[in-house]
């Protein structure tokens, strides 16, 4: 009897130890709710099979993602071990002490060489240090209806009107011409669908696409000089043309982001749609888009002076300082940056940031949009990543919206107003802005 009790106690102790050990073999990753998060869950299932560590990808709807993340970080919560966060979060999260510094990890794995340069610069770096590993490369590109663009009658009519061949726009001005050409409200057909929503970074991402392509700027991120850059003649022209492009959008197009632009395309309502590359898979899926077979894709075209840039999306994965499994999280990152894992990530539908993989013929030909993605990822620019980025973002959205959607004031007035607001915000935060 005595032995039986001792045996039971020993067994119970082992079970308890086992359960403690099992608890340590779990990682939770926070990300926004979208298809790539599902692909990541599939990927990490491989990690579980290899290592026995359970990895769960928890998702939050995009509009609440930033709020949810920072609420957790500000509370120093340990609910999540890793987060796939926006590039703009880096300043606030790193200076707030919320992210584990990964500079040594980056050097050890030579990630500045392995990953595409833009992804390391924007998804990982802040203040000369590294805080994230590029996970999901993304940028804003364009989808278009090949059947319309290649229709002989449309081609002939277009050439007669504009004097050059209808095709994938070679410049932003051509993109506007094409949008104007296909804008036929009487037939419930419109030229384009662009980002206009005054929430998150929607309208700002859209405006970025034209401002960067026109040689404009949102300010110097190193010197904090805004005046003369944000309201430069190039930026003004870009904003005017973004507004012009808006007039060729479907009616009531003042609250549109990635869902709405894809929906407009799937409903056959528009000839072209702006969107993040991460949302293009559903456009080539016949179950979600009756025009799936007619879809073409192109990178954001250059502006009138040949400047060739696009707005950056995408995220890097960071280790949260308050997580209880930091060592295990680092091991996961080591696994994630391996070339095989990156390849598998791309196969599952993720946009891997591995430079060699991105440049490979296999990747570029894998889907109808990968070539445009590849071209875009080497010409991207991003928004401010300061801890005060959210103020700058909401101020920009609130200022752009009345001009772009309502046509209130002029582009010059809009950008002058935003310049003054940003200088004030940056100065108040202690930056030598001007």
């Amino acid at each position: 009897m005595h032995k039986t009790i001792a045996g039971l106690l020993a067994g119970t102790s082992l079970l308890a130890l086992g359960s403690i050990s099992a608890q340590a073999q779990e990682l939770t990753i926070l990300w926004a709710e979208w298809d790539p998060a599902n692909y990541l869950q599939e990927l990490v299932n491989d990690y579980q099979a290899e290592t026995g560590v359970t990895v769960t990808v928890e998702t939050v709807p995009w509009p609440d993602f930033q709020t949810k993340l920072f609420t957790e970080l500000n509370a120093h919560g340990s609910a999540y071990d890793l987060v796939v966060g926006d590039s703009q979060f880096l300043g606030a999260a790193s200076t707030g002490g919320h992210y584990v510094e990964l500079t040594d990890f980056v050097a050890e794995h030579n990630l500045t060489e392995v990953m595409a340069p833009a992804t390391m610069q924007y998804y990982s770096q802040y203040g000369g240090k590294y805080w994230a590993v590029p996970l999901e490369g993304d940028a804003v590109g364009w989808a278009y209806r090949k059947d319309l663009f290649e229709d002989p009658t449309e081609m002939a009519n277009f050439k007669a009107k504009y004097g050059y061949d209808l095709g994938v726009p070679q410049t932003f001005k051509q993109l506007i011409d094409i949008a104007e050409f296909f804008n036929r409200p009487d037939d419930n057909m419109y030229g384009a669908a662009i980002y206009t929503m005054n929430a998150g970074d929607a309208i700002v991402m859209g405006v970025e696409n034209s401002v960067f392509a026109y040689g404009g700027s949102f300010g110097d991120y190193d010197t904090y000089k805004v005046s003369g850059q944000l309201n430069s003649p190039e930026s003004v022209e870009a904003l005017e043309d973004y507004r012009k492009l808006f007039t060729f959008n479907p009616p009531g197009w003042g609250n549109a982001f990635f869902t709405e632009t894809n929906t407009a395309m799937a409903q056959g309502q528009v000839a072209m749609a702006m969107n993040f590359f991460a949302f293009f898979p559903s456009l080539v899926n016949e179950a979600t888009n009756p025009y799936a077979g007619d879809m073409g894709f192109f990178a954001n075209p250059p502006g009138p002076r040949g400047d060739d840039f696009a707005a950056l999306g995408g995220q890097g994965i960071s280790v949260i300082s308050y997580g209880e499994n930091i060592d295990e999280s680092m091991k996961f990152l080591e696994w994630f940056v391996k070339e095989d894992t990156q390849k598998r990530w791309a196969e599952l539908g993720g946009y891997a940031c591995n430079a060699a993989l991105l440049s490979s013929e296999e990747f570029r030909n894998a889907t109808p949009y990968n070539e445009a993605f590849y071209q875009t990822m080497f010409k991207v620019r991003d928004f401010w990543a300061l801890p005060e980025y959210a103020e700058l973002l909401t101020e920009a959205a609130d200022t752009f919206y009345p001009y772009v959607v309502d046509g209130q004031g002029t582009a010059q007035e809009t950008l002058d107003k935003l310049t003054a607001t940003w200088v004030d915000t940056l100065t108040s935060a202690g930056y030598p802005a001007e």
Partner: protein, 300 residues
Amino acid sequence: MTSIVTTLDPQSRAARRGWSDLTIRNAFVIPTVAFLIIFNIFPLLYSLGFSFTDFRASTNKPINFVGLKNYVDILADPVIWRTFSTTLWYVIVSVAGQFFVGFGLALLLNRPIPFRGFVTTLLLLPMMLSPVVVGLFWKLIYDPSWGPLNYALGLGTVQWLTDSHLALYAVAITDIWMWAPFVMLLSLAGLSAVPKHLYEAAAIDRAGKLYTFFRITLPLVAPILLIAVIFRTMEAFKTFDVAYIMTGQPAAELISSRLYKLAFQQWQTGPSSALAYIILIMVLCITNIYIKYLNRVKER
């Protein structure tokens, strides 16, 4: 007999179980008071403290006392004043609409009509829905391309939610649709409490319908209508979810949305606490005016 008395005496019963009246009272009151202190009073005072600092919850920077700076900055900010005036106009339109629609429906239902109970239940459905669902639902209704509203009214492509002149009214209409049933419900309770003999006396005196309405119905229902208006004014002032879901039009931005942006998107914890207190004081002032008026009506 003695045993019956003993059985009915609750004090003795509680005493037999070792629970005095005081213990029972404390068992109910203390958790409630503790809950209120922990979840209401403490955060209220804590955020009042924040409102005098430059605290940002997203950073680890030291917190500095800034006195009344946050309050002064907010009251000098034209954007805040714009959203305040937008909110005030929204409250007026929305509450007035709910009042007239709700009270009108109650008058209709306060008479013998077929399936009265069923119709009343149907009319109450909107206020039982989640505001987010209502917002998404009305967003579809207002859609200029394929929304049923423009189609049914033959309005073409009126852009309800993006036009700076219409967006606020579109949100107010949704709020009226959702909350007029609440006013209707309270009005119905008030109407059913009006003594029938007053109407009989008015009928004997050959009083007209309008005279009866303004001299009997309205004065007797007024206190309960005012309570409905107080509730709806406070709620309308705090409207966030429906408006936030439906439109991003800055011309329709309400003060709650501005507060949300300040507190949870920009993480300006100090200034947002100050703004929250300014809103609280405004709501208290408006409610106080209503309550004083309500007391005067009751005294009459």
